[in-house]
Symmetry: C2
Subunit: 137 residues, 2 copies
Amino acid sequence: MDQLMDILKRNQLSVTEGRRKILELFLKSDGALAHADVEKKIDAGFDRVTVYRTLQTFVEKGIIHNIPTTDNSILYALCKDNCEAGHHHDNHVHFICDVCDKTICLEHVAIPEVKLPKGYQQRQADLVISGVCDDCR
Amino acid sequence: MDQLMDILKRNQLSVTEGRRKILELFLKSDGALAHADVEKKIDAGFDRVTVYRTLQTFVEKGIIHNIPTTDNSILYALCKDNCEAGHHHDNHVHFICDVCDKTICLEHVAIPEVKLPKGYQQRQADLVISGVCDDCR
DNA sequence: TTATTTTTTGCAACAATATTGCATTTTCGT
DNA sequence: ACGAAAATGCAATATTGTTGCAAAAAATAA
């Protein structure tokens, strides 16, 4: 299980217990995670600040990316292709259930091209679909 | 200018100065507004709590809706068609500029249908495109 | 390995944002 | 105008995110 270390090394990050644990959490959880989720699901007692900084670092390095939400929370999800820092062309489609609040990533769905007004340059596109998931019907 | 009163009445809301002012603000500003924007742009000194509650009420009534963002802020925008409370089929496309942070609503762009997994029911779809706007190039 | 440098962490304090209860005020229907 | 219902303001509280700095851990060099 050196996948964790690989990812961290590749991104020139020191390998620490906190980073390993958080990264591991993302690797084994299919959905997206909010800051609060990360804090809860990690048994070890890491400081809130550490979690904030770790997530921030991961985003900067392009290990994870954040997903738009309509409530004021930030959801983070793993970048499957571990894209280069700075330019993530992750065109993700996410489904948020109104009932159970779970967010899942629809990986196989592609976002069609959208024609933007003149002069607008697209970097990233996120499609967020909300409704009721299969479990909550 | 009884458009304001009309909207409020239609949604069974008492007509108060705060609600009129806030609704007016949305009507005359083309883009989306955050809570902070609303507070700033209203000259009258309304309590923060009132603004929170008003925005919440407007969302519940379907007068405004909120736009997904990747930072942890909530953006509100007017529902053009003043849809029924509860079911807003507002499939909005929004563009967020990475530089100036402005959010604009691309009204003429439609979100194509997306095939969801079995049992999933779509209520709303939001496409958020980020990049650089024409002004910031 | 040990010593030195660099990075990360935890703590504490702080700042910003959002929520709740309750008394007062305003609006609405009669 | 009057009484009932709804909205507001205030204070207190909760939640969430940030910053500075000293201690601890990890990386680098010898």
